[in-house]
């Protein structure tokens, strides 16, 4: 049983939130497919503005940080090489990692799916008689729906990353890998904190953060168990690397007596030397920082004589659909991901609809690829269509994952498995029948030119009916030209004569006056409104 779907099932903790006014429509899980959720998100002006504002800043900063480092492409390529090599030899490096973890005194667990992982963590917490668990940000814990599972046992789980803390107070899921509360205003945050005990707060960031610091400081000191993710596991020493900015990762791994790490099985790098590459790529790609405020490398629990640091270190290693990508040339590279979120920040779709519209733990381009792969089934089969395939994600990815190609391959998989509408299949069958044969192509275009006539007004189609309505509801569609190019071509060639006699040609080719006329008309006439019968024929010409 995968836990991904559980995030969308409204659990007890979320059921109350679903009624709360603070819950935006876009954030409600499970409301139809990505299209329906996207529509709701698009109507939420604040959400769109907030997401755009933040992603703009992040990508701007990332660009600056990449330029400052210099030779970014060489860094990216090195990052790709390291991740590709590790994943290609994951059996070796994971083994080495696990052996060294144990040698350093950690306990290691393996979970084949989300359910097993959550049960394992719950079991450790139970055994340690943990009542209060403090947690720093971890996507894997979201993936396995851990908070929900621990709540069932009556364990209090406190998110300590400021953004996670905020969304935990409203019982929502993160909407961005790096900035979970990207969709919340300071006013909303003030109200949340007020309800949580900080009555006299202003909406100043400083005051809000100070409230969180005070409140959470007590939790850190009182907690029995600290839970973190793992950005990288270093195979050669069995070390866990955490990148954080707020310091909560350090708190969580220092103060409670038990430290539990949940990590995806692919999160390995072979050697300490490789960490330098990741440390140069990850923060820059995530937040445009040279380095996060804290990079912590943990090798086992505290040693004899050390006072702080955990007595016990437990590491839960999760498969949950990851191993199924190994050996698949199209999808194995998805395991190279370092969860930086850069692909979200440049994605025009993400920027418009926000994270919750994806309806999965992992949003944005990486989510549209990873979610349907990790949870193989129809549930996330529509996510790969939430992309215009513009390729911005690939361009931004610090380890060069070809996300745009993977999106296409996932669509192919949907077709192969019959997870598409019959009408769509028929349409592309027809496309093939017509476009693969010149004769039929010509005939069909001729027919289309006749059929479109009732719909064409002044060279364009605006009727909001038929298969193109997704387009025409918001845009004009150009009419087919009265005469296609290939029918004009012979006359054109005859007119132009052999190339080289260029000087004469322009006067012959087109009356000089016509160009003048056209130029003079420009600006006076709205774009694109031409007589379709004219030689220019298209909608977009003056």
């Amino acid at each position: 049983m995968s836990g991904i779907e559980q995030v969308r099932e409204v659990g007890p903790a979320q059921a109350g939130a679903a009624e709360s006014v603070a819950m935006r429509p876009a954030a409600r899980p499970g409301a139809g497919g990505v299209q329906a959720r996207a529509r709701a998100a698009l109507q939420d002006e604040f959400l769109r503005g907030a997401v755009r504002f933040t992603t703009d800043r992040l990508r701007g900063r990332k660009q600056a940080a990449a330029e400052e480092l210099g030779r970014w492409e060489e860094w990216r390529e090195r990052g790709r090489q390291i991740r590709a090599h590790t994943v290609e030899h994951l059996d070796y490096y994971l083994r080495q990692f696990v052996d060294n973890l144990r040698a350093a005194g950690a306990k290691v667990y393996f979970a084949v799916d989300a359910h097993e992982a959550a049960e394992t963590v719950a079991g450790i917490v139970r055994e340690k008689q943990g009542r209060l668990v403090v947690k720093s940000k971890s996507m894997v814990s979201e993936e396995i729906h851990l908070n929900h599972r621990l709540a069932e046992d009556g364990v209090e789980v406190v998110e300590t990353d400021l953004g996670e803390y905020i969304i935990q107070l409203v019982h929502e899921a993160p909407s961005h890998i790096i900035i979970p509360a990207i969709h919340k205003t300071r006013g909303q945050i003030r109200d949340l904190f007020a309800a949580a005990g900080g009555e006299d707060l202003s909406t100043e960031t400083r005051d809000l953060a100070a409230f969180a610091r005070r409140t959470l400081r007590e939790k850190f000191l009182a907690a029995d168990v600290g839970l973190t993710g793992c950005n990288f596991g270093i195979a050669e020493t069995g070390s866990i690397v955490l990148f954080t900015n707020e310091g909560n990762g350090r708190m969580v791994s220092t103060l409670p007596r038990t430290h539990i790490v949940t990590m995806g099985m692919e999160r390995i790098i072979p050697a300490w030397a490789d960490l330098e590459v990741m440390a140069n790529l990850l923060p820059r790609s995530a937040t445009g920082q040279k380095l996060t405020a804290y990079m912590t490398v943990i090798t086992g629990p505290r040693r004899q004589g050390e006072i702080d640091g955990p007595d016990e270190l437990h590491v839960v290693i999760l498969d949950n659909g990851r191993s199924a990508q190994l050996g698949d040339p199209a999808f194995q590279p998805v395991l190279h991901c370092i969860r930086c979120g850069a692909c979200l920040n440049v994605c025009p779709v993400y920027r418009h609809i926000g994270g919750h519209a994806y309806g999965s733990v992992y949003p944005g381009p990486i989510g549209a690829v990873l979610s349907p792969l990790l949870r193989d089934g129809e549930q996330y089969a529509d996510l790969p269509y939430a992309s215009s395939l513009c390729g911005a994600c690939f361009e931004a990815c610090p380890v060069k994952i070809p996300l745009h190609d993977m999106l296409v391959h996932l669509r192919q998989r949907n077709v192969a498995r019959g997870w598409v509408k019959p009408a769509e299949r028929a349409a592309f069958g027809a496309f093939r029948a017509v476009f693969a044969h010149l004769g039929r192509y010509r005939l069909a275009m001729r027919a289309a030119r006749i059929l479109q006539r009732p719909l064409v007004r002044r060279g364009r189609m605006d009727a909001r009916v038929g298969p193109l309505r997704g387009w025409t509801q918001s845009r004009s569609f150009p009419a087919l030209a009265r005469q296609p190019f290939r029918e004009r071509f012979p006359a054109l060639v005859a007119e132009l004569g052999p190339a080289g006699a260029a000087g004469m040609e322009s006067a012959k080719a087109r009356p000089i006056g016509e160009a003048h006329q056209q130029a003079a008309m420009r600006g006076g006439q709205p774009n694109g409104v031409s007589d379709p019968a004219g030689p220019a024929g298209g909608e977009h010409r003056g």
Binding site: S388, G391, R432, W471, P526
Partner: protein, 249 residues
């Protein structure tokens, strides 16, 4: 030099004047083009929707049609990008087709690439006294690797007032079937793009891909904005004619 025109289904049927401008301009640059008859479409609409079989059958028309050409030029970075980026995997396993695809990749160019890289021309002798902004299409730049060739050509146009487009590299929301299938998202994207175009105060939006241009143009038209949309070849050719006229006059 046998230069074949890969006209693309979009330009063939919807925007023949773009093809005409290309042919006339290339002719002035001393290039005679042929139009191999068998071509229809690169198959991208099907391929991007996940229908590889269908895309293969359609894309194969290009392999045969262009087998005899030395160069293949198209008015679309997206369609040429499809050939470059996806034809190898599409025709893997069929030796003859794979060889033809490989040849096609090596000899095919998008229009601005061809003019700048192959012909070595950046100044086509055009004059275009208007305020113009340029939208770089995603597939051209990211799949095919069109760099600043269009800007190089535009920079040499006399009297042109080029204004940078804010967030130029953001996708316009076309994405082929995406625009229909995910109409709401696509609309939000194109509305933003249209707003950025309007912000520049440009009279003309120029680009190298009619898919994007008909998307942005369709939105501008719906919003009633007085911005004209032109393919780079159209702008350059019109500019050449204008310059010629000025010299004659």
């Amino acid at each position: 030099m046998r230069v074949a025109l890969f006209i693309t289904c979009l330009v063939d049927n919807l925007f023949p004047q773009v093809g005409e401008s290309m042919v006339r301009l290339l002719h002035r640059l001393g290039v005679e083009v042929m139009l191999p008859a068998g071509q229809t479409c690169c198959g991208q609409p099907a391929f991007n929707s996940g229908y590889a079989e269908e895309a293969r059958a359609v894309g194969a028309t290009l392999l045969e049609a262009f087998a005899g050409a030395d160069y293949v030029v198209s008015p679309s970075g997206s369609c040429t990008g499809m050939v470059h980026h996806y034809f190898p995997e599409l025709f893997r396993g069929d030796d003859r087709a794979a060889r033809l695809a490989d040849e096609l990749i090596r000899k095919s160019y998008e229009f601005s690439q061809f003019v700048v890289r192959v012909l070595g021309v950046t100044d086509v002798g055009a004059c275009f006294p208007h305020r113009v902004t340029y939208h770089p299409s995603c597939h051209g730049s990211r799949l095919l690797g069109v760099r600043d060739e269009p800007q190089q050509l535009l920079a040499k146009v006399r009297d042109i007032e080029l204004v940078p487009l804010p967030y130029a590299e953001d996708c316009c929301g076309f994405g082929g079937t995406f625009a229909v299938k995910m109409g709401d998202i696509s609309t939000a994207m194109v509305a933003e793009k249209a707003a950025h175009v309007a912000e520049t105060g440009a009279e003309v939006l120029v680009g190298t891909d009619m898919g994007c241009l008909m998307n942005i143009g369709g939105r501008l038209a719906r919003e009633g904005r007085p911005v004209q949309v032109m393919h780079l070849a159209e702008l350059l050719y019109e500019g050449v004619v204008l310059a010629e006229g000025r010299r004659v006059g």
